[in-house]
Every structure is written in structure tokens, then in C-alpha cells.
């Protein structure tokens, strides 16, 4: 009894800490910036007149519809890309599965500016593909035009959210469920559609929700494709204009936040009242079948086609980084190593800063994500769901708002010993990245937790383990796939974040890779070096991701024999 009371107090403390963290580093800074949305421009009084203006403006109505349409279509296409990759690599013995998983994540590592630039070079109206089509067949395909261009780029960029989370969920389904279905006569695609995929639904919903919300709130891609009739670009253009102080930018930010929370709530509705957990016997994961030779060839073919499509921005980036002049031609005019030599000197500093910031942020994200997931789904704390909604709000806040908010909130706060404002210390960049990428880790951790049976925790506690020990020794290992997914998505995207970073960098010694890429990409002669830095970013983050996979895979395998032995006894 005393032990139970102590557990409840600990849980409440954790919940309170999480709430305070979100309030201090997300709510307060953001409110300091967006309060303008609730202020009468003429008198400074509190008002909702700006929201009336928003709903009365035809441009914003159109932008809202466009954003919704692009988000929904991106989820659909991302699903079509991700499901085959997840299915093949988790259901079959596959040489190179880890490499395919890693390459499947690479599209998330799209340094700012260069991704869309590279795609334009390959798939634009006068890009490589269309120049070839025009020369040989006399027609072109408008891949990159208007909203369709945005949908294409967004789908390719964000499908890894579905791939990673769905793969983790598939890997977490206990094989006994599959065996039971098999015994009852189900197999093949029927089993996948009716047993396997539904059981992996938490992972799919987590990934799909992230894609939808992220695309809805994305401004970088639309702006680079010069599409401005979407909500996030409208918010950005108005907030970052010089001279004009238009409250509508902040109003749109509020709308983006509200709609993102609504989207999350709707996605959680899809899972409400259903239990996706299985009682792990310790072996873990679905059985993997060997493929027949022709099946293997066909699968490799499909996977290679998909990977070529989703890695096309990086192919363009690679060509740009080695190219001399690339102008209205299928390939660069010539090739050179000069761009890498140009950036080699500064790259080391950018790389070490990036690994440090993104690594710490991702680690903090999975810790916070696991804690929030646990509090929301395993405790009875009042108001706990708002921790989830609150953390997810970060998806909707433009980086520029986070950046301004941190300067406004923390610049007057001096850090002891370091003796400079918190907003000028490199740690503030880590905090910004942690907050901005927390939603990714959180969705992955929630999905993983939903697949772990409460019974396993109860068993642990019945045998005398404390709640903390139960979490550490039982929950965390069983959630490891989801935690890895969370770490990877947070790390990869934190490594290339720019819009908050560019506001917060107060000394070039603190600058990460994204900042360096931005610097170079501002001049005609700088696109090559910028692309070279981009390639370096992709390779390093990709390698880090690959290592993460190997570590987790090793951990999983080393647990399997012991569990099997226990089972036999």
C-alpha cells in the first residue's frame, strides 16, 4: 500500500515535470510571439477580430483547402510507397534489409533548400527527365508544377515516418498471433490484410498522423516550389516580412496549431477502444519466410524502383556536388572535386556541432517521448492527454516563431558560470531542436507502448519489482523498436533543421550543418559547395541511422535465445 502510494507520487512528479518542460520551452515562448493574433491592431486590446478577418479572407480559405488537400494526398502516396517496403523487409528473409531500411529513411535527411533545388534539376519542367522526354518523344510531364509538385516532394520527403513506425510495429507483433491465424487456415495477403496489418495499426496511424500534420504545417517545400497559397507559407511570408507588421501571420499560426491538435485527436479516435497489445513470449516479431527465386527478383525490382524514386533528390544533390556547371542540361557540364575541397575546412566544425546537437536532442526526445507515452497511456493522471496534444503542437509552430520566442523569452536570462544569455548559448539550439522534434519520437513511443500488454507490467509488479524497475527492465526493452524509430526520426530531422537555428545562432562557431548549407546556397557559385555539405550531412546522418539499427538488432537477437530457453523450461 505504501509502495503503491509512493508510485503514484512519483508518477505525478514525472507528469508535472513534463508539463513544466513543455510550458517553459514551448507554450511561453510561442505565446510571447503569437499573442499578436489576439490583439486589436488599433487599440492593443484583447479581441477575436483578427480571426473574423481570417475566416472572411478568400485567400486564406483557399489556402486552408489547398493545405488539407496536399496533406491528404501526401499521406495516400506516402502509404503506397512505405507499405511495400515495410512489408517486404519485415515479412521475408531479405539480404540487405537493414540497408533498405536505412535508405528508406534517407529522404528525411533533406537539407534545407537543396532538396527541392535538386529535384527541380531532375524532374522540373526543364530538368533532366523532361529534357530527355522532350528530345526523344516531344512532350514533357509537369511533375513539379503547383500543388502536384508539392504533393510529390512531400510524399517522397515524409514517407519514412510511415515506413519507420510501421516497420517497428510489424516487428513487434508476436508470432503466436500469426501462428494462430495460420492454424485457422489464413495465409498470404489475406493474413496480412486481416491479421497482420490491423495489429500494426498503431504504427501506421502514428506515421500517417505525422505525415499529415507535418505536410499541413510545412512551409519550406511549398516556398521553394513557389507555391504560396497554402497556410504555412502564408504564415511564414507574413511573419517574416520587413516593414509590414501583419497580425494574420500569427493568426494562421494559431489556426495551424489548433488544426494539428485536432488532426492528432482524430487519428487517436481511429484507435480508440481497441487493444493492439500482445503477450510477448520473448521471441518477438513475425516469422520471416524465405522467398522463391522469382519472388525475390520481383521484390528487389519493386524495391529498387521505389528507392530510385524516393532518393532522386539525393541523386540530384550528388550530381550537383560534383558538377561544375549544371544549366539547362541532362547532366552537369563537367565534374570536379573542388566543391568538397571548398567545404572540407569548415565541414568538420559543422559536422561535430550537428552530431552533438541532434544527438542530444534525439536522446532527450526519446526519453521525454517514452515518459509522456507512459503517463498518457498507463496512468490515470487527470489532464494527461494534454501532454500529448501539447508536445504535438510543436509540429505546427513555424521555426521562425520558436526562434523569435526563445530570443524574446530567454535573451534576458543570463546563464551562471557561462555568463551569457541563455538565448546565446549553444544549448538553446539543442533545446529548440528537442522541442521541435519531440512529436516524432512521441508518436513512435506511443505506437510502441500500445503494442505492449499491460499484463506484462502487472506480472513484474506482482513479483515485487518497483514501477521504475518495471519500466526500465520490461517496458523499455519491449518498446525498443519504437524507441529506435523515434530516435532515428528525431535525429535525422534535427540534423537538418534551419528555420529556428538560423535565428538562434549567435556565433559561427556554434553553427550546425544546415546553417552552413544555407550560407553557401545563397550565391550562384555556391550551389556546388552547398550541395557538397548536403551530401556530407546525408552520409553522416545516414551512417548514424545505420549504426542505430545494427545496435538495436543486436540487442534484440541477444535476448531471443535466453527467452526461448526460459520458454522451454
Amino acid at each position: 500500500m505504501l509502495s503503491a502510494l509512493r508510485g503514484q507520487r512519483t508518477t505525478a512528479s514525472v507528469g508535472l515535470f513534463l508539463a513544466l518542460f513543455l510550458i517553459a520551452f514551448l507554450f511561453v515562448p510561442v505565446l510571447k510571439v503569437i499573442y499578436v493574433a489576439f490583439q486589436d491592431p488599433a487599440t492593443g486590446e484583447l479581441t477575436l477580430i483578427n480571426f473574423v478577418d481570417f475566416f472572411n479572407t478568400a485567400l486564406f480559405q483557399e489556402s486552408f483547402f489547398n493545405s488539407f488537400y496536399v496533406s491528404a494526398m501526401s499521406v495516400l502516396i506516402a502509404t503506397l510507397v512505405a507499405v511495400p517496403l515495410a512489408y517486404f523487409t519485415t515479412r521475408f528473409n531479405f539480404g540487405g534489409a537493414v540497408i533498405i531500411q536505412t535508405l528508406g529513411i534517407v529522404p528525411l535527411i533533406m537539407p534545407p533548400f537543396v532538396g527541392a533545388v535538386a529535384m527541380q534539376l531532375l524532374l522540373g519542367e526543364n530538368g533532366s527527365v523532361n529534357l530527355i522526354l522532350n528530345d526523344w518523344f516531344g512532350f514533357t510531364i509537369p511533375f513539379m508544377r503547383g500543388l502536384n509538385g508539392v504533393i510529390l516532394v512531400e510524399s517522397i520527403h515524409y514517407f519514412p515516418f510511415i515506413l519507420i513506425n510501421l516497420s517497428a510495429a510489424l516487428a513487434n507483433i508476436d508470432r503466436s498471433m500469426e501462428e494462430a491465424a495460420h492454424n485457422l487456415g489464413s495465409h498470404g495477403l489475406r493474413m496480412f490484410r486481416r491479421i497482420v496489418f490491423p495489429l500494426a495499426m498503431p504504427g501506421y496511424v502514428a506515421g500517417a498522423a505525422l505525415v499529415f500534420i507535418k505536410v499541413f504545417d510545412d512551409l519550406g517545400t511549398p516556398l521553394l516550389l513557389n507555391v504560396n497559397t497554402m497556410l504555412a507559407p502564408q504564415a511564414y511570408l507574413r511573419i517574416s516580412s520587413i516593414g509590414i507588421s501583419d497580425p494574420m501571420g500569427y493568426v494562421i499560426s494559431v489556426v495551424l496549431i489548433a488544426f494539428s491538435v485536432l488532426s492528432l485527436w482524430v487519428s487517436l479516435l481511429a484507435l480508440k477502444g481497441k487493444d493492439y497489445s500482445t503477450t510477448q513470449k520473448g521471441g518477438g516479431g513475425l516469422s520471416k519466410r524465405d522467398m522463391r527465386p522469382w519472388e525475390k527478383t520481383a521484390c528487389y525490382g519493386v524495391i529498387i524502383l521505389i528507392l530510385l524514386l524516393v532518393l532522386s533528390p539525393h541523386i540530384g544533390l550528388l550530381l550537383l556536388s560534383f558538377g561544375t556547371i549544371w544549366s539547362f542540361s541532362v547532366l552537369p557540364d563537367g565534374f570536379t572535386l573542388d566543391h568538397y575541397l571548398t567545404v572540407f575546412q569548415t565541414a568538420t566544425q559543422y559536422v561535430s556541432n550537428t552530431l552533438l546537437y541532434a544527438g542530444i536532442a534525439a536522446l532527450a526526445d526519446v526519453i521525454l517521448g517514452t515518459a509522456i507515452a507512459y503517463v498518457v497511456w498507463r496512468t490515470g493522471l487527470p489532464g494527461r492527454k494534454w501532454l500529448d496534444y501539447g508536445a504535438t503542437m510543436a509540429l505546427a509552430v513555424p521555426g521562425v516563431v520558436i526562434g523569435i520566442g526563445y530570443l524574446r523569452t530567454f535573451y534576458a536570462l543570463d546563464v551562471p558560470i557561462v555568463d551569457k544569455p541563455l538565448a546565446s548559448w549553444w544549448v538553446i539550439i539543442v533545446v529548440a531542436l528537442t522541442v521541435r522534434r519531440l512529436p516524432y519520437a512521441l508518436r513512435a513511443c506511443v505506437a510502441a507502448l500500445q503494442q505492449v500488454s499491460v499484463a506484462l507490467e502487472e506480472a513484474g509488479e506482482n513479483l515485487g519489482a518497483t514501477k521504475g524497475r518495471t519500466v526500465w527492465r520490461i517496458l523499455v526493452p519491449l518498446m525498443s523498436g519504437g524507441i529506435l524509430a523515434g530516435f532515428v526520426t528525431s535525429f535525422a530531422t534535427a540534423a537538418v533543421e534551419l528555420s529556428a537555428t538560423i535565428m538562434l545562432v549567435s556565433t559561427s562557431a556554434d553553427a550546425p550543418l544546415a546553417y552552413g548549407i544555407y550560407e553557401f546556397m545563397q550565391s550562384a557559385s555556391g550551389r556546388g559547395p552547398g550541395a557538397a555539405l548536403g551530401v556530407i550531412a546525408v552520409v553522416i546522418v545516414g551512417f548514424g541511422t545505420y549504426l542505430s539499427h545494427r545496435v538495436i538488432e543486436s540487442g534484440r537477437k541477444s535476448r531471443a535465445p535466453a527467452a526461448a530457453a526460459v520458454q522451454e523450461i
Binding site: L237, F328, Y411
Partner: protein, 444 residues
């Protein structure tokens, strides 16, 4: 005795000079929007001249730089702001964030073209001149069978439909001044008609000024309205592009300013003097920079065909630029352009495309009714929701800045509702114009 006194004075002067030279030391922090091609070149040259100074470059896009300086003003850590857009400096000046400074360097004239090189109040200083012009991709034009455009009005030709790029004036201060120059040159109504017609041929309106040279360099579109150094440095870097100044253009200074309460005032002043000195001005000729020096003497070192605005008086002098008028209606023009053109670009292109089809069908035929309908359609497209007088009215312009410096200041009207009225009219006009053009075509 007199000789001794003179000697003492001389020694004192020399010591003074030495102390001034050695006073510039420590860290010099510069917030700038310029790319490494520019910043690293000047940093290296300046640090060679002043070894005790460590230059710290903070690269931020202009709007981020302004926000950064505004938010850190209470405990300022930056010494200099270094950027192209004059409007950025006006915002900082109005926010009382800049220091006055009078440069000691000689040899720099008061004006370049019709534009003052330095802020008349002394808060920011021009270190280079920028003209606006047209750059084109020679491969692209050859492949499409197009000739280069050399004047703004050339860009109205239907043959350029979908082949041109520009950045919005609200995103590029220098684009803004080009828009303003043509409006002042042609007058409000005719000027806007001109920009609507040119913009209808745009393939894209980019979010930042660099998007235009990037689009031309890569061949996404064939022609772009750019700041001259984008065209000149792209060409010098080996891209198959060329650049030309149209007759109606203005030369605008690119600026540098000392930030109020600069941590290192001495080094800041030294840097300003350096980039204005003959040595600093010469750096602007670097192939990767290629900007117009404000010191006329520097042009002696320039490549043979390099433009010289002080010798070639046709550059930037065709329009007598009214600086005060520009300031008064600055934000209104930005907003008008975005409402009428940037955000309704698809509608504008559709309407103009319909007109082009109707005009093509009318070619060589005598049909007064069809011609009348087409003329009506063009007039609808050209219509502007406010007059020049309204645009220049300070009370009206206040709606777009919301600067209530006193509690008693009253601002009537809200930007969003005004823009919605403009948008209603604009969309309605474009729709009607398209219908009239289709109607005209059906008569032929």
C-alpha cells in the same frame, strides 16, 4: 623653443595615430545576409589589414537578421548590420537601433545615378551600388527559339509567356525599388498596367531574390529580373548567362550600418572605413562578387566590359527617383503587388493567356467588336483598387505598419479587411477579363 614645441606636437600626433590604429582589436560581430563569397573575401582582407581583430560573421536572411537585432537590442552583442535591402535599414533606423556615423574616407560622391549613396540622416552608408536588370540563359533561349529581352516592356511580349521569373517586392527590397522606379517613371496607373502585363508572363514569383538567378542559372526559366551582381557573378562563374540593364532602371546602394551600443565600436568604424577605402572597394570586383563600387576611381581596375555608372550616365539616370514618395508608400506597394499579382498569379496568367489566344485569333482580321472586348479585358486586368494619392497618404499607409508609438494614436481599418476588398475586386476583374477574351475569340 618654437622648434621644440613643433616637435612635441609632431610626436604627439604620431603617437595618436598609432593608438588609433592599435585601438581596433577584439571580436567584431557582423550580422549580414551576404553569402560566403562576399563575407569571406572581405573578412580575409580586413583581418590582413587589422590582425588584432577577429571578425565574426553571423549569416542570417535579412528578415531574420532584423528580428535578431530587435530581440537582442536590450543586451546587444552585434556591431554591424551589412545587407542589400535599404528597407531593412529603414526598419532598424525607425526602431532606433542604429548609430550615426560620418565616414572619413574621401573620394565617394554624394549620389550614384539619382539615388543618394548614404542615408541623408547618416544612419547607414552605401558601400556598393546595385542596378536592376534582366539576365537570361543562352542555352534556354536558343532551345526555345527566343531572343533576349533588354527592356522591361519587352517582357510583355506573348512569346515570353511562362519563361520569366521575378521575386516579389515584399521579399526583395531591391525588386521593390525596381517596381517603384517604373511606377514613378510611367505613373501609377500605367506603371501598374505595365507590371501586371509583365507579371502575367512570369513562370514564377519567387520567395527570395536568390530564387531568380538560381532559376535562370539552372534553366528552370529563361529570363529573370535580377540585381546586377547576380547576373554578373553567375556569368563570371561560368554559367551560360548574360545580363543587360534596361534604360529605365535605378541604382540603389547596398549598405552597412553600425548598431547602437556596439560592443566593439572602434573595430566597427574600422571595418566601415575599410570597405569604403580604395582597397576595400577593389574587393567588389572579385569574379564571385562583381558588385559596382561607389568609388569612381576603383573602376580603373575593373574588367574591360564592366559597367561603370559614373561614366555611363545612362545607367540609373532615366528616372528622377523621388525617395520620399517611395518611403511613404513602401508597404502599400508591397501589399498591392502581393494581393494583385503574387497570390493571384494563376488567375492573372489564365486571364492573360485567354487574351493572347484572342489576339492571335484576331491577327490580320478587322473585327471592331472583338478588338473592343479584348481592350476591355486588358483594362480590367490593369485596374488598381486605390489611387496614387491614397497610396501616398500616411494615414492609409499606417494600416500596414501598426506602429502606435503613443497610446493616443488611432489607426482605423485593418490590413486583412482592406486586402480582402482588393482581392475581391482583383479576382472579379481577372474572371471577367478571361470571359471577355473568350467571348472575343468566339466572334472570330
Amino acid at each position: 623653443m618654437r622648434k621644440t614645441l613643433t616637435g612635441l606636437a609632431s610626436v604627439s600626433f604620431i603617437l595618436g595615430a598609432v593608438s588609433v590604429a592599435t585601438a581596433a582589436e577584439g571580436t567584431l560581430t557582423i550580422v549580414t545576409s551576404y553569402p560566403p563569397d562576399t563575407t569571406k573575401t572581405f573578412e580575409a582582407a580586413f583581418e590582413a589589414a587589422y590582425p588584432s581583430v577577429d571578425v565574426e560573421i553571423l549569416n542570417k536572411k535579412t528578415s531574420a537578421g532584423i528580428k535578431y537585432l530587435q530581440e537582442t537590442a536590450d543586451n546587444n552583442a552585434s556591431d554591424l548590420f551589412w545587407a542589400s535591402a535599404p528597407d531593412a535599414f529603414e526598419v532598424l533606423k525607425d526602431s532606433n537601433l542604429l548609430s550615426k556615423y560620418t565616414p572619413k574616407v574621401e573620394g565617394i560622391p554624394e549620389k550614384v545615378g539619382a539615388f543618394p549613396i548614404n542615408d541623408p540622416d547618416g544612419y547607414y552608408l552605401g558601400f556598393a551600388a546595385s542596378g536592376y536588370g534582366i539576365m537570361w540563359n543562352t542555352r534556354y533561349l536558343e532551345a526555345k527559339g527566343l531572343e533576349p529581352a533588354r527592356q522591361w516592356s519587352d517582357l510583355k511580349d506573348p512569346k515570353y509567356f511562362g519563361h520569366v521569373g521575378i521575386s516579389a517586392p515584399s521579399r526583395s527590397g531591391t525588386t521593390h525599388l525596381t517596381i517603384e522606379t517604373v511606377l514613378q517613371g510611367l505613373g501609377w496607373e500605367e506603371g501598374w498596367a505595365e507590371w501586371k502585363a509583365i507579371s502575367a508572363n512570369m513562370k514564377t514569383i519567387t520567395e527570395r531574390s536568390f530564387g531568380v538567378p538560381d532559376g535562370v542559372n539552372s534553366g528552370q526559366f529563361g529570363l529573370g529580373i535580377v540585381i546586377d551582381f547576380f547576373g554578373l557573378s553567375s556569368q563570371a562563374s561560368g554559367f551560360p548567362v548574360e545580363f543587360a540593364y534596361p534604360e529605365v532602371t535605378t541604382l540603389v546602394p547596398a549598405n552597412i550600418a553600425i548598431i547602437k551600443n556596439a560592443p566593439n565600436q572602434e573595430a566597427a568604424e574600422a571595418f566601415v572605413e575599410f570597405i569604403l577605402s580604395p582597397e576595400g572597394q577593389a574587393q567588389l570586383l572579385d569574379p564571385k562578387i562583381r558588385r559596382l563600387p561607389v568609388n569612381p576611381a576603383t573602376y580603373a581596375q575593373a574588367p574591360a566590359d564592366f559597367p561603370n555608372p559614373f561614366k555611363d550616365k545612362t545607367i540609373g539616370a532615366a528616372v528622377k527617383f523621388d525617395l520620399d514618395l517611395s518611403k511613404n508608400r513602401y508597404n502599400v506597394i508591397n501589399s498591392l503587388f502581393d494581393v494583385m499579382i503574387t497570390y493571384r498569379h494563376d488567375e492573372l496568367k489564365s486571364a492573360m493567356s485567354a487574351i493572347y489566344e484572342a489576339e492571335a485569333a484576331l491577327a490580320g482580321k478587322d473585327n471592331a467588336e472583338a478588338a473592343g472586348l479584348i481592350k476591355q479585358a486588358r483594362a480590367l486586368i490593369a485596374e488598381v483598387p486605390i489611387t496614387a494619392e491614397q497610396a501616398a497618404d500616411p494615414d492609409f499607409a499606417a494600416v500596414f505598419t501598426k506602429k502606435r508609438k503613443k497610446a493616443s494614436d488611432k489607426v482605423t481599418g485593418r490590413q486583412a479587411e482592406i486586402e480582402q476588398q482588393w482581392d475581391d475586386m482583383t479576382r472579379g476583374n481577372y474572371e471577367k477579363a478571361a470571359k471577355l477574351a473568350e467571348q472575343a475569340k468566339s466572334l472570330l
